[in-house]
Protein backbone atom coordinates (compact mmCIF):
# COMPACT_ATOMS: atom_id res chain seq x y z
CA UNK A 1 0.00 0.00 0.00
CA UNK A 2 2.75 2.34 1.02
CA UNK A 3 4.54 1.56 -2.17
CA UNK A 4 1.48 2.44 -4.19
CA UNK A 5 1.11 5.86 -2.57
CA UNK A 6 4.76 6.57 -3.26
CA UNK A 7 4.32 5.55 -6.89
CA UNK A 8 1.31 7.83 -7.20
CA UNK A 9 3.19 10.80 -5.75
CA UNK A 10 6.09 10.27 -8.11
CA UNK A 11 3.66 10.05 -11.02
CA UNK A 12 2.18 13.34 -9.94
CA UNK A 13 5.59 15.03 -9.76
CA UNK A 14 6.50 13.81 -13.24
CA UNK A 15 3.18 15.00 -14.56
CA UNK A 16 3.82 18.50 -13.20
CA UNK A 17 7.26 18.61 -14.74
CA UNK A 18 5.76 17.54 -18.04
CA UNK A 19 3.04 20.13 -17.77
CA UNK A 20 5.62 22.91 -17.26
CA UNK A 21 6.74 22.50 -20.87
CA UNK A 22 3.20 22.35 -22.17
CA UNK A 23 2.36 25.37 -20.04
CA UNK A 24 5.28 27.38 -21.47
CA UNK A 25 4.27 26.61 -25.04
CA UNK A 26 0.66 27.52 -24.35
CA UNK A 27 1.66 30.69 -22.52
CA UNK A 28 3.91 31.87 -25.36
CA UNK A 29 1.35 31.00 -28.02
CA UNK A 30 -1.50 32.74 -26.25
CA UNK A 31 0.65 35.76 -25.38
CA UNK A 32 1.90 36.14 -28.96
CA UNK A 33 -1.60 35.89 -30.40
CA UNK A 34 -3.05 38.34 -27.89
CA UNK A 35 -0.28 40.90 -28.35
CA UNK A 36 0.11 40.32 -32.08
CA UNK A 37 -3.50 40.69 -33.21
CA UNK A 38 -4.20 44.35 -32.21
CA UNK A 39 -1.57 45.87 -34.50
CA UNK A 40 -2.63 43.70 -37.43
CA UNK A 41 -6.24 44.75 -37.02
CA UNK A 42 -5.20 48.40 -36.74
CA UNK A 43 -2.89 48.31 -39.76
CA UNK A 44 -4.96 45.90 -41.81
CA UNK A 45 -3.86 42.35 -42.59
CA UNK A 46 -3.26 42.95 -46.29
CA UNK A 47 -1.36 46.19 -45.71
CA UNK A 48 0.72 44.54 -42.99
CA UNK A 49 1.68 41.39 -44.88
CA UNK A 50 2.04 42.87 -48.36
CA UNK A 51 3.09 46.45 -47.67
CA UNK A 52 6.54 47.09 -49.08
CA UNK A 53 7.54 49.96 -46.82
CA UNK A 54 8.55 49.73 -43.19
CA UNK A 55 9.08 53.10 -41.51
CA UNK A 56 7.93 52.60 -37.96
CA UNK A 57 9.09 55.88 -36.47
CA UNK A 58 8.21 58.31 -39.25
CA UNK A 59 5.69 61.07 -38.64
CA UNK A 60 3.34 59.04 -40.84
CA UNK A 61 4.51 55.53 -40.08
CA UNK A 62 4.00 52.63 -42.44
CA UNK A 63 4.16 49.04 -41.34
CA UNK A 64 4.61 46.75 -44.33
CA UNK A 65 6.56 43.61 -43.60
CA UNK A 66 6.78 42.10 -47.08
CA UNK A 67 10.50 43.00 -47.29
CA UNK A 68 11.14 41.06 -44.06
CA UNK A 69 9.10 38.04 -45.15
CA UNK A 70 10.80 37.87 -48.54
CA UNK A 71 14.24 38.41 -47.01
CA UNK A 72 13.65 35.59 -44.54
CA UNK A 73 12.49 33.28 -47.35
CA UNK A 74 15.32 34.22 -49.74
CA UNK A 75 17.92 34.11 -46.99
CA UNK A 76 16.78 30.69 -45.81
CA UNK A 77 16.54 29.37 -49.36
CA UNK A 78 20.04 30.65 -50.11
CA UNK A 79 21.43 29.06 -46.96
CA UNK A 80 19.77 25.74 -47.89
CA UNK A 81 21.10 26.00 -51.45
CA UNK A 82 24.65 26.42 -50.15
CA UNK A 83 24.43 24.34 -47.00
CA UNK A 84 22.50 21.25 -48.08
CA UNK A 85 24.85 19.99 -50.84
CA UNK A 86 27.87 20.44 -48.58
CA UNK A 87 26.15 18.96 -45.53
CA UNK A 88 24.54 16.08 -47.41
CA UNK A 89 27.70 14.98 -49.18
CA UNK A 90 29.66 15.28 -45.94
CA UNK A 91 27.08 13.03 -44.30
CA UNK A 92 27.33 10.42 -47.08
CA UNK A 93 31.10 10.51 -46.82
CA UNK A 94 31.12 10.20 -43.03
CA UNK A 95 28.44 7.52 -42.84
CA UNK A 96 29.62 5.29 -45.67
CA UNK A 97 33.04 6.04 -47.06
CA UNK A 98 35.31 7.69 -44.50
CA UNK A 99 37.88 5.59 -42.61
CA UNK A 100 37.24 5.48 -38.87
CA UNK A 101 40.05 7.90 -37.98
CA UNK A 102 38.97 10.66 -40.36
CA UNK A 103 35.39 10.10 -39.35
CA UNK A 104 36.19 10.75 -35.68
CA UNK A 105 38.07 13.94 -36.47
CA UNK A 106 35.41 15.31 -38.82
CA UNK A 107 32.46 14.47 -36.58
CA UNK A 108 34.22 16.13 -33.66
CA UNK A 109 34.72 19.24 -35.76
CA UNK A 110 31.03 19.18 -36.73
CA UNK A 111 29.96 18.94 -33.08
CA UNK A 112 32.28 21.81 -32.27
CA UNK A 113 30.71 23.88 -35.04
CA UNK A 114 27.28 23.20 -33.51
CA UNK A 115 28.50 24.45 -30.15
CA UNK A 116 29.79 27.84 -31.29
CA UNK A 117 27.46 30.60 -30.02
CA UNK A 118 25.70 32.55 -32.75
CA UNK A 119 27.15 35.85 -31.56
CA UNK A 120 30.60 34.50 -32.40
CA UNK A 121 29.46 33.66 -35.94
CA UNK A 122 28.16 37.21 -36.15
CA UNK A 123 31.37 38.76 -34.88
CA UNK A 124 33.58 36.79 -37.23
CA UNK A 125 31.20 37.65 -40.05
CA UNK A 126 31.34 41.33 -39.17
CA UNK A 127 35.12 41.52 -38.96
CA UNK A 128 36.15 39.05 -41.71
CA UNK A 129 33.26 38.28 -44.04
CA UNK A 130 31.91 41.80 -44.55
CA UNK A 131 35.24 43.44 -45.46
CA UNK A 132 35.97 40.32 -47.56
CA UNK A 133 32.78 40.66 -49.58
CA UNK A 134 33.38 44.39 -49.94
CA UNK A 135 36.81 43.96 -51.53
CA UNK A 136 35.96 40.78 -53.47
CA UNK A 137 32.93 42.21 -55.26
CA UNK A 138 34.19 45.80 -55.18
CA UNK A 139 31.00 47.22 -53.63
CA UNK A 140 30.86 50.10 -51.14
CA UNK A 141 29.60 47.98 -48.25
CA UNK A 142 29.75 44.26 -47.56
CA UNK A 143 26.85 43.96 -45.11
CA UNK A 144 24.30 42.27 -47.34
CA UNK A 145 21.95 39.36 -47.94
CA UNK A 146 24.92 37.41 -49.32
CA UNK A 147 26.84 37.77 -46.06
CA UNK A 148 23.81 36.58 -44.10
CA UNK A 149 23.32 33.60 -46.43
CA UNK A 150 26.93 32.50 -46.02
CA UNK A 151 26.79 32.76 -42.23
CA UNK A 152 23.46 30.89 -42.10
CA UNK A 153 24.73 28.17 -44.46
CA UNK A 154 27.62 27.47 -42.09
CA UNK A 155 25.36 27.57 -39.06
CA UNK A 156 22.93 24.96 -40.40
CA UNK A 157 25.66 22.51 -41.46
CA UNK A 158 25.86 20.61 -38.13
CA UNK A 159 22.13 19.88 -37.93
CA UNK A 160 22.00 18.74 -41.57
CA UNK A 161 25.08 16.55 -41.24
CA UNK A 162 24.11 14.94 -37.94
CA UNK A 163 20.51 14.12 -38.87
CA UNK A 164 21.53 12.84 -42.33
CA UNK A 165 24.18 10.57 -40.83
CA UNK A 166 21.63 9.07 -38.46
CA UNK A 167 19.25 8.48 -41.37
CA UNK A 168 21.94 6.91 -43.57
CA UNK A 169 23.15 4.63 -40.79
CA UNK A 170 19.62 3.36 -40.23
CA UNK A 171 19.52 1.87 -43.74
CA UNK A 172 19.58 -1.95 -43.31
CA UNK A 173 22.92 -3.41 -44.31
CA UNK A 174 21.17 -6.13 -46.35
CA UNK A 175 20.06 -3.54 -48.94
CA UNK A 176 23.62 -2.47 -49.57
CA UNK A 177 24.96 -6.02 -49.53
CA UNK A 178 22.36 -7.05 -52.10
CA UNK A 179 23.27 -4.14 -54.34
CA UNK A 180 26.98 -4.89 -54.09
CA UNK A 181 26.32 -8.61 -54.76
CA UNK A 182 24.49 -7.67 -57.96
CA UNK A 183 27.64 -5.97 -59.17
CA UNK A 184 27.05 -2.28 -58.36
CA UNK A 185 30.11 -0.30 -57.30
CA UNK A 186 30.15 1.09 -53.72
CA UNK A 187 29.46 4.66 -54.91
CA UNK A 188 26.56 3.49 -57.07
CA UNK A 189 25.22 1.60 -54.08
CA UNK A 190 25.40 4.68 -51.80
CA UNK A 191 23.59 6.97 -54.20
CA UNK A 192 21.15 4.49 -55.77
CA UNK A 193 20.31 2.41 -52.69
CA UNK A 194 21.32 3.98 -49.36
CA UNK A 195 20.30 7.56 -50.11
CA UNK A 196 16.84 6.72 -51.54
CA UNK A 197 16.22 4.44 -48.56
CA UNK A 198 17.12 7.27 -46.18
CA UNK A 199 15.37 9.99 -48.12
CA UNK A 200 12.72 10.96 -45.61
CA UNK A 201 15.37 11.22 -42.87
CA UNK A 202 17.42 13.46 -45.13
CA UNK A 203 14.35 15.55 -45.91
CA UNK A 204 13.86 15.93 -42.16
CA UNK A 205 17.46 17.18 -41.93
CA UNK A 206 16.77 19.82 -44.55
CA UNK A 207 13.60 20.95 -42.80
CA UNK A 208 15.51 21.16 -39.53
CA UNK A 209 18.09 23.33 -41.30
CA UNK A 210 15.33 25.58 -42.61
CA UNK A 211 13.98 25.93 -39.08
CA UNK A 212 17.38 26.83 -37.71
CA UNK A 213 18.06 29.36 -40.48
CA UNK A 214 14.72 31.14 -40.31
CA UNK A 215 14.87 31.49 -36.53
CA UNK A 216 18.41 32.82 -36.26
CA UNK A 217 18.62 36.45 -35.15
CA UNK A 218 21.89 37.40 -33.50
CA UNK A 219 24.41 36.40 -36.16
CA UNK A 220 22.20 37.72 -38.95
CA UNK A 221 21.70 41.04 -37.20
CA UNK A 222 25.45 41.59 -37.16
CA UNK A 223 26.08 40.90 -40.86
CA UNK A 224 22.91 41.79 -42.78
CA UNK A 225 22.95 45.57 -42.26
CA UNK A 226 19.32 45.67 -41.05
CA UNK A 227 17.84 48.17 -43.51
CA UNK A 228 14.26 47.40 -44.50
CA UNK A 229 15.01 47.08 -48.23
CA UNK A 230 13.37 44.67 -50.61
CA UNK A 231 15.82 41.75 -50.76
CA UNK A 232 18.63 41.76 -53.28
CA UNK A 233 21.90 39.89 -52.98
CA UNK A 234 24.26 42.84 -52.41
CA UNK A 235 21.83 45.07 -50.53
CA UNK A 236 21.54 45.55 -46.82
CA UNK A 237 18.42 43.64 -45.71
CA UNK A 238 16.37 42.92 -42.63
CA UNK A 239 14.99 39.49 -41.65
CA UNK A 240 11.80 38.79 -39.67
CA UNK A 241 13.87 37.90 -36.60
CA UNK A 242 16.10 40.95 -36.78
CA UNK A 243 13.12 43.23 -37.39
CA UNK A 244 11.81 42.21 -33.98
CA UNK A 245 15.16 42.15 -32.21
CA UNK A 246 16.62 45.39 -33.52
CA UNK A 247 13.69 47.69 -32.74
CA UNK A 248 12.26 46.07 -29.63
CA UNK A 249 14.44 47.83 -27.08
CA UNK A 250 13.43 51.36 -28.02
CA UNK A 251 9.93 50.80 -29.33
CA UNK A 252 6.66 52.19 -28.07
CA UNK A 253 2.98 52.27 -28.94
CA UNK A 254 1.85 50.85 -32.26
CA UNK A 255 5.47 50.21 -33.29
CA UNK A 256 5.88 47.81 -30.38
CA UNK A 257 2.57 46.10 -31.11
CA UNK A 258 3.60 45.72 -34.75
CA UNK A 259 6.82 44.04 -33.62
CA UNK A 260 4.73 41.49 -31.73
CA UNK A 261 2.75 40.95 -34.92
CA UNK A 262 5.99 40.27 -36.80
CA UNK A 263 6.88 37.78 -34.08
CA UNK A 264 3.48 36.15 -34.60
CA UNK A 265 4.13 35.82 -38.34
CA UNK A 266 7.54 34.31 -37.61
CA UNK A 267 5.93 31.96 -35.10
CA UNK A 268 3.44 30.77 -37.72
CA UNK A 269 6.28 30.16 -40.17
CA UNK A 270 8.13 28.07 -37.62
CA UNK A 271 4.96 26.16 -36.71
CA UNK A 272 4.55 25.33 -40.38
CA UNK A 273 8.13 24.11 -40.58
CA UNK A 274 7.65 21.99 -37.45
CA UNK A 275 4.52 20.44 -38.91
CA UNK A 276 6.47 19.57 -42.08
CA UNK A 277 9.25 18.09 -39.97
CA UNK A 278 6.77 15.96 -38.03
CA UNK A 279 5.25 14.78 -41.31
CA UNK A 280 8.62 13.58 -42.60
CA UNK A 281 9.58 11.96 -39.31
CA UNK A 282 6.26 10.13 -39.11
CA UNK A 283 6.64 8.85 -42.65
CA UNK A 284 10.13 7.77 -41.76
CA UNK A 285 8.81 5.67 -38.90
CA UNK A 286 6.05 4.10 -40.92
CA UNK A 287 8.41 2.95 -43.64
Amino acid sequence: MKNKVFETIIHGVFLILGLITVGCVLLITVYLIISGIPAISKIGLFEFLFGTKWASTDAEPSYGILPFILTSIYGTAGAILLGVPVGFLTAVYLAKIAPAKIRTIVSNAVSLLAGIPSVVYGLVGMLVLIPGIRTLFDIPDGASLLAAIIVLAIMILPSIINVSITALEAVPKEYEDASLALGATPVETYFRVSVPAAKSGIAAAVVLGVGRAIGEAMAVMMVAGNVANMPSLFQSVRFLTTAVASEMSYSSGLQRQALFSIALVLFLFIMLINATLNFFLKRNKEE
Binding site: L15, I16, M126, N226, S236, A245, S246, Y250, S251, S252
Partner: protein, 288 residues
Protein backbone atom coordinates in the same frame (compact mmCIF):
# COMPACT_ATOMS: atom_id res chain seq x y z
CA UNK B 1 -9.65 5.72 -13.56
CA UNK B 2 -9.90 6.75 -9.96
CA UNK B 3 -6.15 6.69 -9.68
CA UNK B 4 -5.77 8.93 -12.68
CA UNK B 5 -8.08 11.52 -11.21
CA UNK B 6 -6.20 11.35 -7.94
CA UNK B 7 -2.88 11.90 -9.72
CA UNK B 8 -4.28 14.83 -11.62
CA UNK B 9 -5.63 16.39 -8.47
CA UNK B 10 -2.37 15.88 -6.69
CA UNK B 11 -0.54 17.53 -9.57
CA UNK B 12 -2.92 20.44 -9.45
CA UNK B 13 -2.54 20.88 -5.71
CA UNK B 14 1.24 20.80 -5.95
CA UNK B 15 1.22 23.31 -8.80
CA UNK B 16 -1.03 25.61 -6.84
CA UNK B 17 1.25 25.28 -3.84
CA UNK B 18 4.17 26.38 -6.00
CA UNK B 19 2.31 29.38 -7.33
CA UNK B 20 1.09 30.41 -3.89
CA UNK B 21 4.53 29.85 -2.44
CA UNK B 22 6.13 32.12 -5.04
CA UNK B 23 3.63 34.91 -4.80
CA UNK B 24 3.58 35.05 -1.02
CA UNK B 25 7.34 35.28 -1.01
CA UNK B 26 7.17 38.18 -3.40
CA UNK B 27 4.61 39.89 -1.22
CA UNK B 28 6.70 39.67 1.89
CA UNK B 29 9.72 40.96 -0.04
CA UNK B 30 8.07 44.06 -1.36
CA UNK B 31 6.49 44.54 2.06
CA UNK B 32 9.91 44.61 3.63
CA UNK B 33 11.42 47.19 1.33
CA UNK B 34 8.29 49.28 1.58
CA UNK B 35 8.55 49.32 5.36
CA UNK B 36 12.22 50.19 5.23
CA UNK B 37 11.54 53.09 2.91
CA UNK B 38 8.61 54.24 5.00
CA UNK B 39 10.31 54.25 8.36
CA UNK B 40 13.67 55.66 7.32
CA UNK B 41 13.00 58.21 4.61
CA UNK B 42 16.35 60.00 4.88
CA UNK B 43 19.48 60.04 7.01
CA UNK B 44 20.98 56.54 7.18
CA UNK B 45 18.75 55.51 4.32
CA UNK B 46 18.60 51.98 3.12
CA UNK B 47 16.69 50.48 0.26
CA UNK B 48 16.89 50.31 -3.46
CA UNK B 49 17.04 52.73 -6.35
CA UNK B 50 16.25 51.18 -9.69
CA UNK B 51 16.88 53.03 -12.93
CA UNK B 52 15.98 51.76 -16.36
CA UNK B 53 16.48 53.13 -19.85
CA UNK B 54 18.87 54.67 -22.34
CA UNK B 55 21.96 52.69 -23.25
CA UNK B 56 23.66 55.96 -24.25
CA UNK B 57 23.52 57.09 -20.64
CA UNK B 58 25.38 54.03 -19.40
CA UNK B 59 28.64 55.82 -18.60
CA UNK B 60 27.06 58.84 -16.97
CA UNK B 61 24.67 56.82 -14.84
CA UNK B 62 27.37 54.28 -14.01
CA UNK B 63 29.67 56.95 -12.58
CA UNK B 64 26.83 58.63 -10.70
CA UNK B 65 25.54 55.33 -9.30
CA UNK B 66 28.96 54.28 -8.12
CA UNK B 67 29.63 57.55 -6.33
CA UNK B 68 26.14 57.53 -4.85
CA UNK B 69 26.54 54.02 -3.44
CA UNK B 70 29.87 54.93 -1.92
CA UNK B 71 28.25 57.78 -0.06
CA UNK B 72 25.14 55.82 0.96
CA UNK B 73 26.37 52.35 1.73
CA UNK B 74 22.91 51.10 2.73
CA UNK B 75 21.33 51.79 -0.64
CA UNK B 76 21.54 49.43 -3.59
CA UNK B 77 21.59 51.16 -6.95
CA UNK B 78 20.63 49.29 -10.08
CA UNK B 79 20.71 50.31 -13.73
CA UNK B 80 18.99 48.34 -16.44
CA UNK B 81 20.23 49.35 -19.92
CA UNK B 82 17.16 48.71 -22.04
CA UNK B 83 16.80 51.82 -24.19
CA UNK B 84 14.97 55.12 -23.81
CA UNK B 85 11.60 53.78 -24.92
CA UNK B 86 11.72 50.85 -22.51
CA UNK B 87 12.89 53.10 -19.67
CA UNK B 88 10.00 55.50 -20.14
CA UNK B 89 7.62 52.54 -20.32
CA UNK B 90 9.13 51.11 -17.13
CA UNK B 91 8.42 54.32 -15.17
CA UNK B 92 4.91 54.33 -16.57
CA UNK B 93 4.37 50.76 -15.37
CA UNK B 94 6.04 51.44 -12.01
CA UNK B 95 8.73 48.85 -12.70
CA UNK B 96 11.54 51.26 -11.81
CA UNK B 97 12.03 54.41 -9.75
CA UNK B 98 13.69 56.66 -12.30
CA UNK B 99 13.59 56.27 -16.07
CA UNK B 100 16.51 57.34 -18.23
CA UNK B 101 15.90 58.79 -21.65
CA UNK B 102 18.37 60.25 -24.13
CA UNK B 103 15.66 62.24 -25.85
CA UNK B 104 13.12 64.75 -24.59
CA UNK B 105 9.74 63.30 -23.72
CA UNK B 106 7.14 63.42 -26.47
CA UNK B 107 4.01 65.43 -25.81
CA UNK B 108 1.89 62.29 -25.55
CA UNK B 109 4.26 60.94 -22.92
CA UNK B 110 4.08 64.15 -20.91
CA UNK B 111 0.30 64.09 -21.15
CA UNK B 112 0.28 60.60 -19.71
CA UNK B 113 1.69 61.98 -16.46
CA UNK B 114 5.46 61.79 -16.84
CA UNK B 115 7.90 64.51 -15.87
CA UNK B 116 11.33 65.17 -17.36
CA UNK B 117 14.36 66.64 -15.66
CA UNK B 118 17.34 67.38 -17.89
CA UNK B 119 20.42 65.89 -16.26
CA UNK B 120 23.05 66.62 -18.89
CA UNK B 121 23.74 67.27 -22.56
CA UNK B 122 25.53 64.88 -24.84
CA UNK B 123 27.18 65.76 -28.09
CA UNK B 124 26.56 63.42 -31.02
CA UNK B 125 29.79 63.06 -32.94
CA UNK B 126 29.78 62.55 -36.69
CA UNK B 127 32.39 59.88 -37.23
CA UNK B 128 34.32 58.78 -40.32
CA UNK B 129 37.16 56.36 -40.94
CA UNK B 130 40.57 57.79 -39.91
CA UNK B 131 41.77 57.30 -43.53
CA UNK B 132 39.13 59.75 -44.72
CA UNK B 133 40.57 63.17 -45.62
CA UNK B 134 37.34 65.06 -44.97
CA UNK B 135 37.62 66.89 -41.64
CA UNK B 136 34.79 69.40 -41.68
CA UNK B 137 31.21 69.40 -42.97
CA UNK B 138 28.36 71.84 -42.59
CA UNK B 139 25.12 70.60 -41.08
CA UNK B 140 23.47 70.91 -44.52
CA UNK B 141 26.18 68.75 -46.08
CA UNK B 142 25.69 66.17 -43.36
CA UNK B 143 21.95 66.17 -43.97
CA UNK B 144 22.40 65.68 -47.72
CA UNK B 145 24.89 62.87 -47.17
CA UNK B 146 22.54 61.03 -44.84
CA UNK B 147 19.50 61.52 -47.08
CA UNK B 148 21.46 60.23 -50.07
CA UNK B 149 21.59 63.47 -52.11
CA UNK B 150 25.36 63.48 -51.89
CA UNK B 151 26.61 60.03 -52.79
CA UNK B 152 30.36 60.42 -53.27
CA UNK B 153 33.05 61.75 -50.95
CA UNK B 154 34.52 63.78 -53.84
CA UNK B 155 31.40 65.99 -53.76
CA UNK B 156 32.31 67.23 -50.28
CA UNK B 157 36.04 67.57 -50.78
CA UNK B 158 37.24 64.06 -50.11
CA UNK B 159 38.76 61.32 -52.24
CA UNK B 160 36.63 59.47 -54.79
CA UNK B 161 34.50 56.77 -53.13
CA UNK B 162 30.84 55.98 -52.62
CA UNK B 163 29.67 57.13 -49.19
CA UNK B 164 28.44 54.34 -46.92
CA UNK B 165 25.95 55.73 -44.43
CA UNK B 166 25.79 53.87 -41.12
CA UNK B 167 22.98 54.58 -38.67
CA UNK B 168 21.12 53.23 -35.67
CA UNK B 169 17.84 51.33 -35.55
CA UNK B 170 14.50 53.12 -35.49
CA UNK B 171 13.66 54.24 -31.97
CA UNK B 172 17.25 54.67 -30.83
CA UNK B 173 17.82 57.84 -28.84
CA UNK B 174 20.97 58.67 -30.79
CA UNK B 175 19.18 58.30 -34.13
CA UNK B 176 16.23 60.32 -32.93
CA UNK B 177 18.59 63.03 -31.64
CA UNK B 178 20.65 63.10 -34.83
CA UNK B 179 17.70 63.11 -37.22
CA UNK B 180 15.78 65.79 -35.35
CA UNK B 181 18.80 68.10 -35.17
CA UNK B 182 19.71 67.65 -38.85
CA UNK B 183 16.00 67.69 -39.82
CA UNK B 184 16.27 64.40 -41.65
CA UNK B 185 13.54 62.50 -39.76
CA UNK B 186 12.47 59.48 -41.74
CA UNK B 187 14.39 60.52 -44.86
CA UNK B 188 17.78 59.06 -44.04
CA UNK B 189 19.03 56.55 -46.55
CA UNK B 190 21.07 54.12 -44.50
CA UNK B 191 23.29 51.36 -45.80
CA UNK B 192 23.28 49.73 -42.38
CA UNK B 193 21.14 50.14 -39.30
CA UNK B 194 23.03 48.77 -36.31
CA UNK B 195 21.75 48.22 -32.82
CA UNK B 196 24.49 49.67 -30.66
CA UNK B 197 26.95 52.54 -30.50
CA UNK B 198 29.81 50.04 -30.37
CA UNK B 199 28.67 48.33 -33.58
CA UNK B 200 28.51 51.67 -35.40
CA UNK B 201 32.04 52.58 -34.32
CA UNK B 202 33.41 49.14 -35.25
CA UNK B 203 31.78 49.27 -38.68
CA UNK B 204 32.96 52.81 -39.43
CA UNK B 205 36.48 51.94 -38.31
CA UNK B 206 36.59 48.99 -40.71
CA UNK B 207 35.17 50.68 -43.83
CA UNK B 208 37.19 53.56 -45.35
CA UNK B 209 34.11 55.14 -46.96
CA UNK B 210 31.75 54.94 -44.01
CA UNK B 211 30.15 57.77 -42.08
CA UNK B 212 28.07 57.36 -38.92
CA UNK B 213 27.06 59.00 -35.70
CA UNK B 214 27.74 58.05 -32.10
CA UNK B 215 27.64 59.50 -28.63
CA UNK B 216 30.65 61.81 -28.19
CA UNK B 217 31.55 60.10 -24.93
CA UNK B 218 31.92 56.75 -26.71
CA UNK B 219 34.20 57.93 -29.54
CA UNK B 220 37.75 56.61 -29.31
CA UNK B 221 40.82 56.86 -31.50
CA UNK B 222 39.78 54.20 -34.04
CA UNK B 223 37.42 56.65 -35.74
CA UNK B 224 37.67 60.34 -36.56
CA UNK B 225 35.08 62.77 -35.21
CA UNK B 226 34.73 65.57 -37.79
CA UNK B 227 33.92 69.15 -36.96
CA UNK B 228 30.53 70.57 -37.89
CA UNK B 229 30.46 74.05 -39.41
CA UNK B 230 34.04 74.56 -38.20
CA UNK B 231 33.33 73.59 -34.60
CA UNK B 232 35.00 70.44 -33.31
CA UNK B 233 32.92 68.38 -30.88
CA UNK B 234 34.19 68.67 -27.32
CA UNK B 235 32.83 69.19 -23.86
CA UNK B 236 33.39 72.91 -24.08
CA UNK B 237 31.68 73.35 -27.44
CA UNK B 238 28.71 71.22 -26.37
CA UNK B 239 28.32 73.24 -23.18
CA UNK B 240 28.33 76.64 -24.91
CA UNK B 241 26.04 75.16 -27.61
CA UNK B 242 28.37 76.16 -30.43
CA UNK B 243 28.53 72.49 -31.43
CA UNK B 244 25.00 72.04 -32.71
CA UNK B 245 24.52 68.26 -32.84
CA UNK B 246 23.69 67.59 -29.20
CA UNK B 247 20.82 66.10 -27.21
CA UNK B 248 19.60 66.01 -23.61
CA UNK B 249 19.99 63.19 -21.08
CA UNK B 250 16.72 63.14 -19.17
CA UNK B 251 15.60 61.70 -15.83
CA UNK B 252 11.98 60.58 -16.14
CA UNK B 253 9.69 60.45 -13.13
CA UNK B 254 5.97 60.20 -12.56
CA UNK B 255 4.19 63.48 -12.02
CA UNK B 256 2.42 63.61 -8.65
CA UNK B 257 3.88 60.35 -7.34
CA UNK B 258 6.51 60.81 -4.65
CA UNK B 259 9.76 58.93 -5.12
CA UNK B 260 10.80 56.49 -2.43
CA UNK B 261 13.27 57.87 0.12
CA UNK B 262 16.26 56.27 -1.53
CA UNK B 263 15.22 57.24 -5.05
CA UNK B 264 14.63 60.86 -4.02
CA UNK B 265 18.08 60.89 -2.48
CA UNK B 266 19.62 59.71 -5.72
CA UNK B 267 17.61 62.20 -7.73
CA UNK B 268 18.86 65.07 -5.52
CA UNK B 269 22.40 63.74 -5.75
CA UNK B 270 22.33 63.49 -9.55
CA UNK B 271 21.10 67.06 -9.93
CA UNK B 272 23.42 68.53 -7.30
CA UNK B 273 26.59 70.59 -7.91
CA UNK B 274 28.57 67.64 -6.68
CA UNK B 275 27.46 65.58 -9.68
CA UNK B 276 28.67 68.10 -12.26
CA UNK B 277 32.27 66.91 -12.11
CA UNK B 278 31.22 63.29 -12.21
CA UNK B 279 29.06 63.82 -15.28
CA UNK B 280 31.85 65.56 -17.15
CA UNK B 281 34.18 62.74 -16.14
CA UNK B 282 31.79 60.42 -17.99
CA UNK B 283 32.05 62.52 -21.14
CA UNK B 284 28.78 64.43 -21.01
CA UNK B 285 28.07 68.01 -19.99
CA UNK B 286 25.97 68.62 -16.89
CA UNK B 287 22.87 70.75 -17.40
CA UNK B 288 23.52 72.73 -14.25
Amino acid sequence: MKKKIFVLMLAFVLAMAMVVGCSSEEDSNSGNTGAADGTTPSAAASGKVSTDGSTSMEEVIGVLGEAFMQENSGITFTYNPTGSGSGIQAVQDGRCDIGLSSRSLKDEEKESGLKETVLAYDGIAIIVNPENSVADLTIEQIASIFTGKVKNWSEVGGADGEIVVIGREAGSGTRDGFESITKTEGTCNYKQELTSTGDVITTVSSNPNAIGYASLAAVKDNVKAISVGGVAPSEATVKDSSYVIQRPFVLVTKEGTALSGAAQKFFDFATSDQAVALISKAGAVAAK
